[in-house]
């Protein structure tokens, strides 16, 4: 690959993605495998030929070559077994003269098809749109390569069974929500990875932000897409302060805010301001607004908790009060506004309705600590330690328990296994 040095990996991935999008647009999603193989063939040819003589328009070259390879493959397939493929070859489902930005958007929507399981949506999106290899995706999720390969195969087969061509641009907006959810899961998983896990060669948070930017180019008018991008940027901005040198998580009140990435924060806040003007806000934009208020504050005391509490209430309303985790997060703000006793009372009610709600006892410990009840707080943290399956979170909670028992701060050490 060093022979193709003039193009960076990012540019190759971009070209591959656009070529695949164009082929899918032409031949339909039922031919996903064939389109992907044809693009791979064309890329291989490009690797070999371009160092000697590179085309003026690399994308046009790649698409034209991939089309020829598609025809070759479809013909030999057709000869071998499949009449349907011949029909697909002779009848392109769409005219190819559609703007490129629509291609990318539609492939994103195809990969996030609501009929696919979440794990299939994520794997297929990372492969077909982000351009990651199966090995890179497997590495990012700490799963065997064959497990990821199987998910991708299965997702493509399912898309073939569904038999729908790519949705028309007019219907495109309907599937944006599904895409947003997939990208958000991808991003949050990246932020919940465990400290002490082996190094990964693909950063899922970076991929998710890249894909969200791509989606935003397709639907610049969607305030939810803009909201999700802002939420990601504002969350990512805090990342350098989130994990201490010993690999332990630090909560918002302990973070060194000087480590927050100001560039990401100002881009995120800019997007929030742009999207909120005159908008009826959706869940992602509201969460971005909350993240922006935290980002703007110099410390916990200077934070606009009244506004944050109001935004959490709004978030609960627009999500139909169906997500108890939002209520749980709201209680942290509520304690700052209405006092910790009010929040603790509501926490008990929340637990009665949702026993076993993740992180509930971590929040309870935090509130009890605020209320000046260290023994009760330690008890809540211990229950939270038993309930979490995240090693970094456990370390963080154990640190809290030790702090409450008056023990000295953590010795600097690697994560325990």
């Amino acid at each position: 690959m060093s022979s193709a040095e003039p193009l960076g990996e990012g540019r190759w991935r971009e070209l591959a993605r656009q070529a695949l999008a164009r082929l899918l647009r032409t031949y339909g999603s039922a031919q996903f495998d064939l389109c992907e193989d044809a693009v791979q063939d064309a890329l291989l040819q490009a690797y070999q030929q371009w160092p000697a003589r590179s085309p003026d328009d690399p994308l046009a070259w790649l698409i034209a070559t991939a089309r020829r390879r598609y025809a070759d493959r479809a013909r030999s397939d057709a000869r071998r077994r499949d009449r349907e493929t011949r029909a697909a070859l002779s009848q392109p489902t769409q005219a190819p003269e559609v703007a490129q930005r629509d291609d990318s958007l539609l492939v994103l929507q195809l990969c996030c098809h609501p009929e696919l399981p979440r794990s299939g949506q994520v794997a297929l999106t990372l492969r077909a749109v982000a351009g990651l290899s199966t090995a890179q995706i497997a590495n990012a999720y700490q799963l065997p390569e064959r497990t990821i390969a199987q998910r991708i195969t299965r997702a493509k087969r399912r898309l073939g069974e569904l038999g729908q061509p790519l949705p028309q641009p007019a219907a495109a907006g309907e599937r944006v929500t599904a895409v947003l959810d997939v990208l958000y899961v991808m991003f949050s998983e990246a932020h919940h990875t465990t400290a002490g896990a082996p190094a990964r060669d693909a950063d899922l948070a970076v991929e998710a932000m890249h894909l969200t930017r791509l989606l935003r180019r397709g639907v610049p008018e969607s305030t939810e897409v803009t909201g999700l991008l802002a939420l990601m940027l504002l969350t990512e901005a805090r990342h350098p302060a989130r994990v201490g040198p010993d690999g332990r998580l630090t909560s918002l009140d302990e973070q060194d805010r000087a480590l927050w990435n100001r560039e990401l924060i100002s881009e995120g806040i800019g997007l929030v301001e742009q999207a909120t003007a005159g908008a009826e806000p959706g869940p992602y934009l509201i969460q971005a607004c909350i993240a922006a208020l935290h980002a703007e504050a110099s410390d916990i005391a200077a934070t606009d908790w009244v506004e944050i509490l109001a935004l959490y209430r709004l978030l609960e309303i627009v999500t139909g009060h169906r997500n108890p985790t939002i209520a749980l997060n709201r209680l942290v703000a509520q304690a700052m506004v209405d006092g910790v006793d009010v929040a603790l009372g509501q926490l008990d009610a929340l637990e009665a309705d949702h026993p076993g709600l993740p992180r509930l006892n971590a929040v309870r410990g935090h509130l009890l600590e605020q209320a000046g009840r260290p023994d009760d707080a330690a008890g809540a943290y211990r229950r939270a330690i038993a309930a979490t399956i995240n090693l970094a979170e456990q370390q963080h909670l154990r640190h809290r328990v030790r702090r409450l028992s008056g023990a000295p701060a953590d010795p600097v050490q690697g994560p325990s296994r």
Partner: protein, 125 residues
């Protein structure tokens, strides 16, 4: 999320199985493995030898710096861990749903125990 499904077995129960039951269990595990491979949820499975083959390594008050090695299982018990499935599933409900499909689930005296995995290095990459 990754789940370990632990097969809790009782040698006395295994002894009493008819050949037909043993054949069905073998076929059931084969079908289960094929199904979770097909669904992209399979990571690994292992069956362990009899606990009489176990060695235990641990330090004690009398062993000093060097841990001592003894024969037999860590815990004396009628049931022991006979093997496991390591799966990657959407959520706990799916893990339970899959565990119910394992042939051991319908044999009195055998059981499946599920626990989420916090850390895994599968030796790839």
């Amino acid at each position: 999320m990754k789940y370990l499904i632990i097969m809790q077995v009782d040698p006395a129960v295994l002894e009493q199985l008819t050949e037909e039951q043993q054949r069905q269990i073998g076929a059931g595990h084969g079908a289960f493995i094929a199904a979770v491979k097909e669904s992209g949820e399979f990571i690994a499975t292992q069956a362990l030898a009899d606990p009489s083959q176990s060695k235990v390594v641990r330090s004690s008050a009398s062993s000093g710096d060097q841990p001592e090695v003894t024969d037999g299982p860590f815990v004396e018990s009628k049931e022991f861990m006979g093997g496991f499935y390591l799966l990657d599933v959407e959520d706990e409900a799916r893990a339970v749903q899959l565990a119910r499909q394992i042939p051991d689930a319908v044999i009195p005296g055998l059981a499946l125990e599920l626990r989420p995995v916090m850390f895994a290095d599968l030796g790839e990459g």
